[in-house]
Symmetry: C2
C-alpha cells in the first residue's frame, strides 16, 4: 500500500487492533530502578504492594522482562467502543505552515474522558473487578483521569472514589459532574475523610490542595477500607504498559502505508502518553532495528526532565507511597498558579526517565503562551480544539515543521494529540483576553524543591 494516497485519517480495522500490550522494559538493557520501600529503602515486593494495588497490576508493575502481555478479551471489547483512534494526516496544518514536512498526529481525544487516560483506566478497573474488589480510589487534578476511571468503573459496576484537588473541584465543576454522571463519588482534597487530609488541613488551613496530597488521601482511603485498592493514571510502569496501545496502533497504521517517521513527539507530565506512544519505536531503537528522534515536551513551568534531578523521590506529598527513581523537581514542588494546563506532576515515569538518561529521548520545555498560540493555530486549521497538555506537542511539532521549511527537508513528524480542551476554556479565555502569562521557575525555586529529596544512596 506504500504508494497509495494517504487518507486524512487512518483507521485500523477491528481485526488489526493490538491484542497484546508491549512492555518496553523487556528490551531495556538499563532497567528502570525498582520502587523502594521508603522505610527500609529495599525494593518493594509483590506482598508489600498488594495492599495498595490489585494483584495483576502489581505483577505487571514488577515485571521488566516479559515483552508482551495479552490484552484480556473484556478490555479488547471495551477498546472497540472508542478505538482505534485515528492517525490523522495534518494536510491543513502542513499547508498553513507551508512546510515540506509530513505531519501526522495520533488523536486520543474522541472519547468522553477526552484523553488517552481511558486506555489504562479500563485495564485497571478490569483487574480490580477480576479480583472481586468492591471499588477503587484515585486522585485527579483537572479531572481527565478521574473521568476516565469513572467511565471504566461504571462499565464494570465498581465503586469509584475520586479525590479531586480542591481548587479544581471548585473551579472546574463540569468535569466533576461528568464523574458524578458516571456514578463516581468526588471529594475535594484535602478532606476530613482521611488522616492525612486532616493533618494537611490542620497545618495549612487555607490550602487549595495539590496532586501529591490527593494521592496520599486516595492511597489511605484504599488501604483502610475492605475491598478497595488504589489506582493511578500515570507515572507507573503498568500505566505505560497499557498506554502502549497508542504506540502499537500508531506503528501499525504507519506500517500499513509504508511510512517511516523521522521523529516522534509527545507531551510529558507523568509520562503516560509519551511512554505509550513511543513504546514500540523505542523498542526498535533498543533492539538496534531502527533510529528515530523521540522528543518529550514539558512546560517550562514544571520542567522535570530538562531541569530536574535524576534521583529517588516520593511520588506523593504525604510520603505514603513508595520511592521511585525518576527525573524530579522534588515532591514539594508545585507549579506557579498561573500555570494553566496539566503536566504539573513533580516527577516523571521511571521508564521515561531511564530512556531519557540513556539518551534515547530528547526533552524540550516550552512556555504556555507559545503553547496556546500553537493550540489556537492548530484548532483553526485542523478543526480540533486541543487540550493544553497536548498543545505542548503541537508547538514542538510546528517548530520542527518550520525548520523543514527552512532546510527543505521532507521529514515525517508524528506527534501525540492526547486530548481535547473542552473543559479547559477558562485557560483559553485567559489567552483570548490577552492576560495569560508565562512563568519559569528560578534556580532558587528549584533548589527549594530539591532540598526535600530523600537521602537515598542508589
Amino acid at each position: 500500500m506504500a504508494n497509495e494516497k494517504i487518507p486524512y485519517k487512518i483507521y485500523l480495522d477491528e481485526n488489526e487492533l493490538p491484542k497484546q500490550w508491549y512492555n518496553v522494559r523487556a528490551d531495556m538493557k538499563n532497567k528502570p530502578a525498582p520502587l523502594l520501600n521508603p522505610g527500609t529503602l529495599e525494593p518493594m515486593t509483590f506482598d508489600e504492594l498488594r495492599p495498595v494495588f490489585c494483584d495483576d497490576l502489581v505483577a505487571q508493575e514488577l515485571d521488566d522482562t516479559t515483552p508482551y502481555f495479552d490484552i484480556p478479551q473484556e478490555i479488547q471489547e471495551f477498546y472497540k467502543m472508542y478505538r482505534p483512534s485515528p492517525l490523522v494526516r495534518a494536510y491543513c496544518l502542513e499547508k498553513a505552515l507551508d512546510t515540506p514536512a509530513k505531519i501526522y498526529y495520533k488523536f486520543e481525544g474522541n472519547n468522553t474522558s477526552g484523553s488517552h487516560k481511558l486506555n489504562s483506566a479500563i485495564a485497571q478497573a478490569y483487574y480490580a473487578k477480576k479480583q472481586g474488589l468492591k471499588g477503587v480510589t484515585t486522585e485527579t487534578g483537572a479531572g481527565q483521569w478521574g473521568t476516565a476511571l469513572s467511565m471504566a468503573c461504571s462499565y464494570f459496576g465498581l465503586d469509584c472514589k475520586v479525590y479531586m484537588v480542591k481548587v479544581s473541584y471548585e473551579q472546574k465543576p463540569f468535569r466533576r459532574e461528568v464523574m458524578r454522571t458516571y456514578g463516581a463519588s468526588v471529594t475535594p482534597s484535602p478532606s476530613e475523610t482521611t488522616q492525612v487530609g486532616r493533618k494537611i488541613l490542620a497545618e495549612h488551613p487555607g490550602t487549595t490542595g495539590s496532586l501529591g496530597c490527593a494521592i496520599s488521601e486516595a492511597v489511605e482511603a484504599a488501604t483502610t477500607q475492605e475491598g478497595y485498592r488504589y489506582v493511578l493514571g500515570s507515572v507507573l510502569s503498568q500505566v505505560l504498559l497499557h498506554q502502549s496501545v497508542i504506540g502499537l496502533e500508531t506503528k501499525a497504521a504507519l506500517d500499513k502505508y509504508g511510512i517511516k517517521p523521522d521523529m516522534i513527539i509527545g507531551c510529558a507530565g507523568g509520562g503516560s502518553n509519551l511512554g505509550g506512544l513511543i513504546a514500540p519505536f523505542a523498542g526498535q531503537m533498543l533492539r538496534g532495528e531502527a533510529d528515530y528522534r523521540i522528543i518529550a515536551v514539558e512546560p517550562a513551568s514544571c520542567p522535570s526532565l530538562t531541569r530536574g534531578r535524576f534521583a529517588y523521590d516520593f511520588c506523593d506529598t504525604g510520603m505514603v507511597c513508595p520511592l521511585a527513581k525518576m527525573y524530579t523537581l522534588g515532591s514539594g514542588f508545585i507549579p506557579s498558579p498561573n500555570h494553566a494546563g496539566g503536566l504539573r506532576y513533580h516527577g516523571m515515569s521511571s521508564v521515561v526517565s531511564q530512556l531519557y538518561h540513556d539518551k534515547y529521548i530528547e526533552a524540550v520545555s516550552v512556555e504556555q503562551t507559545a503553547v496556546f498560540d500553537a493550540a489556537t493555530k492548530f484548532a483553526r486549521v485542523e478543526g480540533i480544539l486541543p487540550a493544553p497538555e497536548s498543545s505542548h506537542a503541537i508547538k514542538v511539532a510546528m517548530d520542527e515543521a518550520l525548520k523543514c521549511r527552512e532546510t527543505g527537508e521532507e521529514k515525517t513528524i508524528v506527534f501525540g494529540l492526547t486530548g481535547t480542551g473542552y473543559f479547559d476554556m477558562v485557560a483559553y479565555e485567559k489567552y483570548n483576553d490577552g492576560v495569560m502569562s508565562d512563568y519559569i521557575p528560578t534556580d532558587e525555586d528549584l533548589a527549594a524543591g530539591f532540598a526535600g529529596l530523600p537521602k537515598v544512596d542508589k
Copy 2:
C-alpha cells in the same frame, strides 16, 4: 458482506463518502410550501432573498426539483477532517437492555463543534467565500451552531459575527470562548448594535434574550453591512440538504453490511438533524421503494409537531424574516426556563413538517427527566456522554428496544446521536442533584402562542 460480523463502529472509506447531497424535496409529491414575503404574502423570489442569503444558497433554498447537488471539492476536503462519522452498533446498550433488538447510532459528535451542525456550517461558509463576501452573521442559543460556524469561517478566512442569546452568553461562557478561539466576535443578544435589539431592550429592559430575537439582530446586521450575509443552522431547506450527508453515510454503511433498518429515530428542534438523517430513507418511501418507521422526538416542553399548528408563521421574533409554513407554536412561544437542553425553536423545518403532515413521519414528545435518565444510562454503557438534544432520540430508541424485549422481535433500530454534552454539564448537575423538573405547557400556554400567528390564508 451481509454475513460478516458487524464491527462496533462502521467507518466508510474516504472513497465511499457521499459526493452529492440529496434533496428530498425532489421526490416529494406534496412540496413544502414556499417561503412568503411577509408584506405581500407572495412567494419569496431569488432577488428578494439575495440581500439576506448567499446566491448559491438561495438557489438551493428555492430548488425543490433537483434531486442531487454536487458537494464542492473544498467541502469534501473539509468533511474528510471529521467525516465519515461512525455508525456505531450499540452492543453494550443492547446487552444492558436485554433486548433482541439491534441498535445502531450515527454519531455526529466527534468534532469540536460537538454536533452535526458543522456539516452545514462549512457549506454555508464555502458559498459565502465563493461569492467574495467579507463575512457572515448568525445567531446561536447554547452555542453549537455558533461554534460550528466559527470553525467553518476560520477555515475559509471569513469574518464571523455571532449574536448569542444573552442568558447563554452569560451562563455558558465556555462555548463563547470556543467561538472566540476560532476568531468569531460574539455579541450578547439583544444588543445595542442593531435597531431591532435596541427596540427590544427598550420594551423589555431586563430581557435575557431569545433565539427569535437573536435571529432578528443577525439578519439586520447582515443586511445593513456591505459584504455580509446571514446564515442559519436549521429550519431552512438548504440546511437539510447539507445535512443529508448524515443520512447518506448512514445508508451507505448499512447497505455495506446488508442491514435494513425497521425504524429511524431522530431528535427534532428545527429539523436539521432529523431531516438530514432520514433524507435518503424518506426518499425511498416517497418513491415507493421501501418502508420504514421514521420517528421524530421532541421535548414535551416545546412540542411543535405533536401539539403545534400547521400554518404560516414568522421564523423570528422581530418578524424581519420570511414566513414559513410549518408546525409551529407561534413565534412568541418560549419554553419554560426549567427546560435544560436545546430543541427550543418554536417551529419546524417546512420539509419535516410536510413529511409529518403527509404521515411519512411519526412524532412523540418526551419529558426531560426521562431524557436525562436515558442519557445517563447510555453514557454509562456506551461511554459517550450525549447532548441533551441527542438524548431525546436515545430515550425513544431505548423505549422501542424494550418493546422488542416484550415481543421478542429482533427489530433493527437506527437513531441519530447528534452530539456530545460536554458543554451541558449545568443541566447534568441539576439532574445529578435530583433537582431537575419537567414542564408541559398547558393548552392556555399554547393558545397564547397561537394567538400571535399571522393571518395567512394559504
